[in-house]
């Protein structure tokens, strides 16, 4: 009997969510292979998530912001405390450009172990990711000269006692120390951009009370009147943008066969399958504060230049959105 022609076996068909969990790499690749390339969340390659910024919701802080970048939610609070000049190791140089860094007056800390994602459960000391995020925020805070040291100095001018005395020079008696506590409520990729946006929004809306040195009690006393609170004068507006690079490069295949795509503002599912990342930090329409690229060799000079151009466009959008 002739073999009857049987129908070809039906190929496996899974719902989207199952496929995304089983093989995240080929799932993303199948989306990017289409023309025009699209991402599983429906965004185009260069489309970033629109941030939603809410400020001033925390009662006990001098400045606070809640930023939602897609499903990533982060809270940043700026609290000021007083550091007496007598408690510093040596009297600082008045012309010291690194005054803030020498004294350590800006203290950012990124806290990821809040249960924001299944990979970040509490009970452990800060992971490598949290420590490196705190350090990156700190470097950007000091390196961009964001905060004016004059805003954080509390000076005292001794009154003239005799007529012959020279006019006394204002002496710095204490400093404001700003604690920037960044807590992640929910993490869906790109923690650095979200954290920095929250820091910028919190600093822009920080109001510090008016502090003065009381010579009798030899302590700093603040004025409780709300109209005496003053904002910080920020000297820069750094904006960051992170890009993940998805590449099909394989050591077993020819390098020329590999394709790569640069994804702006990656979420967790994309970050998990991309090994390479580019971070660009800009200030204004023409100042590049930093470019960081690590993880692979799919991205070259031209791609980094395109990323910087995209970030300039993003700077305009974010600058308009910040309070």
């Amino acid at each position: 009997m002739a073999a009857d022609t049987s129908t070809a076996p039906a190929s496996l068909a899974f719902p989207r969510a199952t496929f995304a969990k089983l093989t995240p790499g080929p799932f993303l690749h199948a989306h990017l292979k289409q023309s025009p390339p699209i991402r599983p969340s429906g965004r185009t390659l260069i489309e970033c998530r629109e941030p939603q910024i809410t400020t001033g919701s925390l009662t006990h802080s001098h400045g606070s912001a809640v930023v939602r970048l897609g499903d990533t939610t982060v809270v940043c609070s700026a609290q000021g405390e007083i550091l007496n000049a007598s408690d510093t190791p040596s009297p600082p140089d008045a012309d010291d450009g690194d005054l803030l860094e020498t004294l350590g007056l800006l203290v950012p800390n990124v806290e990821l172990s809040t249960g924001c994602s299944p990979a970040h459960l509490p009970g452990n000391p800060p992971s490598t990711l949290a420590q490196s995020l705190s350090w990156k925020v700190r470097t950007l805070l000091y390196g961009s000269d964001l905060v004016n040291p004059k805003d954080l100095q509390i000076t005292f001018t001794a009154p003239k006692i005799d007529e012959e005395d020279d006019a006394s020079v204002p002496e710095v008696k204490a400093y404001w120390t700003l604690y920037l506590d960044i807590m992640f409520i929910s993490l869906d990729g790109n923690p650095f951009d979200a954290a920095w946006l929250a820091v910028m929004a919190a600093l822009r809306t920080t109001r510090l009370p008016k502090a003065s040195w009381d010579a009798d009690t030899e302590a700093v006393v603040c004025s409780p009147a709300l109209e005496d609170y003053s904002r910080l004068t920020l000297q820069a507006t750094p904006v960051t943008a992170t890009f993940a690079v998805f590449s099909t490069a394989n050591p077993l295949k020819q390098r020329s066969e590999a394709e790569s795509w640069v994804l702006a503002d990656p979420d967790t599912s994309e970050e998990d399958v991309c090994r390479e990342a580019v971070t660009v930090v800009l200030d204004g329409s023409n100042r590049v504060l930093g470019v960081e690229k690590a993880g692979g060799r799919a991205v070259g000079k031209e791609s980094v230049r395109e990323c910087v151009e995209l970030t300039f466009g993003r700077w305009k959008d974010v600058n308009a959105m910040l309070p």
């Binding site: 190929s11 496929f19 009662t59 609070s77 408690d87 800390n109 509490p122 009370p209």
Partner: protein
């Protein structure tokens, strides 16, 4: 204080919170009736990557004058699990529930640290007692579930500047724990862990009011009055059971009355909990329904598109 090696620390000399020349806010007065609960805002599903999550807030009363300090409680809860225990763990016939409560450093007037102190561990233990009575553990053998609570803003402990040392301090902790119980209950149901009932937390207090008589109030805001005694219960309404009770202070002779008031406060909180759980279930059912037919390009722009993938 020992420098935390893994975090960026304060300047070496140590800092102190700002001292004000005089009180900058007038003390708030309780404007609600004695048996009225503050308006609760409860929403689930705020952390999509967790199995279940909820956010609880007691928004400040918009009618308070602007210079009065407004109290507002903000708590987030995420539930991860149930997930299997590691292979080398001992067999446990019930679900292993772990609770973790942490105040954010900016949650209270004086800044807290990042490492959990004993009061936070104590709150976690009370919360676990409250939840253990309501979760059906034997349906999840050799599994663990984590309930993680972050208190973004806590309650004040007493009226500003008052001596709270006589009657004991920490009245704010009871209100925070009541909120934690309610939000954990919503998050556990959002995670799909079986429960016998919804547990809600309620607090009642014996306070000295303006005429220095002692009255019972529900849902006390400790900043509004001088508290003499307070009681917290975690209450299951449909079974009329209490899973956790915590009493502080000197209740005098009427201990049963105070507990009854706390139960009444928990019942008021339960109505909001039921609404939130209903919304959460409706959202999940809607997400499970089949996707709509493909529509025009303009309408489907930005939505996840289906691609053909073969196994």
């Amino acid at each position: 204080m020992q420098a935390d090696r893994r975090r960026l620390n304060a300047p070496a000399g140590g800092t102190a919170p700002p001292v004000f020349a005089s009180a900058n806010t007038s003390p708030p007065r309780r404007r609600r009736k004695a048996d009225e609960h503050r308006k609760i805002f409860l929403q689930t599903g705020i952390v999509p990557s967790a199995a279940g999550s909820a956010y609880y807030e007691l928004p400040p009363d918009p009618a308070t004058p602007p210079l009065t300090r407004k109290s507002s409680l903000k708590i987030t809860c995420t539930v991860h699990g149930p997930r299997p225990l590691p292979r080398n763990a001992a067999f446990s016939p019930n679900l292993l529930l772990t609770t973790h409560v942490k105040y954010a450093p900016f949650a209270t007037k004086t800044r807290r640290g990042y490492v959990r102190d004993s009061s936070e561990r104590d709150l976690g233990l009370h919360l676990e007692t409250a939840l253990r009575g309501v979760v059906i553990g034997e349906r999840w053998p050799k599994s663990a579930a984590d309930v993680v609570i972050t208190v973004l803003e806590g309650e004040d402990d007493g009226p500003a500047g008052a001596h709270s040392g006589d009657m004991g301090s920490g009245w704010g902790m009871l209100s925070v724990l009541a909120g934690c119980i309610t939000v954990a209950s919503a998050a556990i149901v959002d995670a799909g862990i079986d429960c016998v009932d919804l547990v809600s937390g309620g607090v009642a207090a014996l306070v000295h009011d303006q005429s220095s008589e002692i009255t019972t109030v529900l849902d006390p805001a400790p900043a509004e009055h001088v508290t003499r005694a307070a009681c917290l219960v975690a209450y299951l309404q449909s079974r009329d059971e209490i899973t956790e009770m915590w009493m502080k202070g000197d209740a005098g002779g009427d201990l049963g009355g105070l507990i009854e008031s706390a139960v009444q406060s928990a019942t008021l909180a339960r109505t909001v909990l039921v609404e939130a759980v209903k919304d959460s279930t409706e959202a999940r059912v809607a997400a499970m329904s089949p996707p709509e037919l493909p529509s025009t390009d303009a309408a489907s722009k930005g939505r996840p598109k289906d691609v053909v993938t073969t196994g």
